[in-house]
Amino acid sequence: MRPTGTKLDLFVGELQRLESHEESTAGPDFSILIRTVGNRNDLLREALLSVMAQTHQSFEVLLLFHTPDDPSPPLEGLQSLIRQFPARFAAKVRLIVVTRPGRSAPLNDGIEQARGRFVCILDDDDLLYDHHFESVSCAVKANPDQRVFQTYSSRRLISVHDKASNATFPYSVDRIETAYTDPFDEAKQLRENFVPSCNFVFSRDYANALGLRFDESLEVLEDWKFLMDLNRLAQVVTVPEITTAIGARSNQTNTVEHPALKELWKRNRQLIQRQLAAAPRLMGAKEMASIVTVLELSEELNMELCQMKRPIRQIERWFFFFLYHVASPFVRVFRRAIVRGNRR
């Protein structure tokens, strides 16, 4: 008889929940969650324009206004921003105020209130290329049983234009480069996050059936943990197209680069790695092969390093032998000669 409480039980339970969960049919194809703290509306406007430009128009926008320090924040700024847009687009935007603390809180509230079949995330300083939804939609049609999709991104290094006042707008781009353009690799992803939050799209039903939400105890890297939770049962399908543009600011105000946040970053990374190591996961043959390859490579490198070290140790030995037996008598003679010379 099979003992209870095994890893297999956990998976069977989750699969049963998935099977029993009723799929929602109403609603648009995509819900895009945009979190903002309301202090850079000019950038947010460009992010919204990039959503409006989508060639696939079946979507809704959940604008998540995060104000943990103010239970009744002024909404005029964001409301007037939405009103600037044509009525057809403005009707798709829902403004939601989130007062709970933590970076993950608005995302979780967004998932709760989303109506789209698939959910994606966009920060207010990131942009979409106009084929983001269309590319994912094509991938969904080609892989109807898959629940999680990943696209590639480019990075825009944006310089703060008015350095004297440190104004956050206008921005111009100093450099554009491709970034995060590797296909999803579970083994690699266990070590570090290689998929930015705007580059994964997941089925809302799948997340709801398993009760998957962003970890609100994390202060950074919440997207990494969430993606790995999604990946525990579902394969991640890579759509090999650059569909997003991540904004990186040159004045080090990104959470990734902020010097004051480095320690926090390290702590959260270690915490997630411990959590990932503790939870059982289903791993495909490809991922297992990838891990075996990495282990073999590491073993080979270790061997090579040992072999390289052997002659170095030999040289070290000869050097000390020379110093002790050959050079030191001469040194002694010279020292005596110098001492005698000084006495005279």
Binding site: A53, P86, L128, Y129, R156, I242
Partner: protein, 291 residues
């Protein structure tokens, strides 16, 4: 006295959804105080049906304060030819050329007008494009740039008429470089307005910017014509020879197009030639990034 702005766009078989979004943006434009705004659409498509849709969409979303005109050309005049035809309809104070594959906020015109006003040497000002900002350089102190992209460029109406608009010999691409150099030869300047942002539907692939078939061919033909017009005969021959040596399929096509267009080409004056600069790969600008 009320000043006038003409916002002009030339269509050619546009994709329905992107045209609809473009018309919504046009209809939502804020008119700067003391100005009158006219949106002029010129259609180079084979059939006028899209234009009818454009007019309907504009009236559906449009502000009553903006006038709207639509011209079906019945022939493909190209970008410059189409813009020139639209500019002949009136004598506005400012002419804004806009690509139909753009999406923008209502204050686009207001920002550009605010920038242009009070600059006596103003010739052309272009908006900052995103998500792929144009790779050409611009001066961060005085906001000047060697030339303005025609995707979203606002001309002083007087300057536009003085230089007689775009050179119709250029069918697509490089006509904006040519007109900018001619404007600068007049003693006017080309500017870059970072405050005015415009979403231009460009895509990035792993090997660079995605270019359509038309851009691939017409871009090269436009560049060859530009070299010829500005008397860079050696560079012109080298570029053609490179195409021939590499057995590029565009070689014969480009030769045919150049032979067809050259008789109508107005050669640059010595003052205009002094404005011309060509950099790596014969490009008329230095690229700020490597794609």
């Amino acid at each position: 006295m009320i000043k006038t702005i003409s916002v002009q766009s030339v269509l050619y078989e546009p994709e329905s959804e992107s045209l609809r979004t473009f018309m919504e943006c046009l209809a939502g434009l804020t008119v700067p105080e003391g100005y009158e705004l006219t949106v002029r659409i010129g259609d180079c498509s084979k059939e006028p049906q899209e234009a009818g849709t454009a007019a309907r969409w504009f009236s559906e979303f449009g502000d009553e304060g903006i006038k709207f005109t639509y011209e079906f050309f019945g022939e493909n005049l190209g970008f410059g030819g189409g813009q020139n035809r639209l500019s002949e309809l009136s004598t506005p104070d400012y002419i804004l050329t806009l690509n139909p594959d753009t999406v923008f906020a209502p204050d686009l015109v207001t920002e550009l007008v605010k920038f242009a006003e009070g600059r006596s040497d103003f010739g052309i000002v272009e908006a900052r494009q995103f998500p792929l900002e144009h790779p050409k350089t611009w001066n961060k102190k005085d906001f000047t740039t060697p030339w303005c992209s025609g995707c979203c460029a606002m001309f002083s109406g007087e300057v536009y008429r003085t230089v007689r608009g775009f050179d119709p010999a250029f069918f697509l691409y490089c006509e904006d470089v040519d007109v900018s150099w001619r404007v600068r030869a007049l003693g006017k300047r080309c500017y870059y307005c970072v405050e005015a942002g415009i979403y231009h539907r460009k895509q990035l692939t792993l090997s660079g910017v995605r270019t359509g078939e038309s851009e691939h061919l017409w871009g090269l033909a436009g560049l060859l014509l530009l070299l010829k017009k500005y008397g860079r005969n050696r560079q012109f021959d080298r570029l053609l020879n490179n195409l021939k040596k590499s057995k590029d399929e565009r070689y014969e096509l480009c030769r045919g197009l150049i032979a067809q267009w050259s008789p109508t080409l107005t050669m640059a004056t010595p003052a205009e030639r002094r404005m011309a600069r060509f950099y790596a790969n014969f490009a008329p600008n230095k690229s700020r990034w490597g794609y």
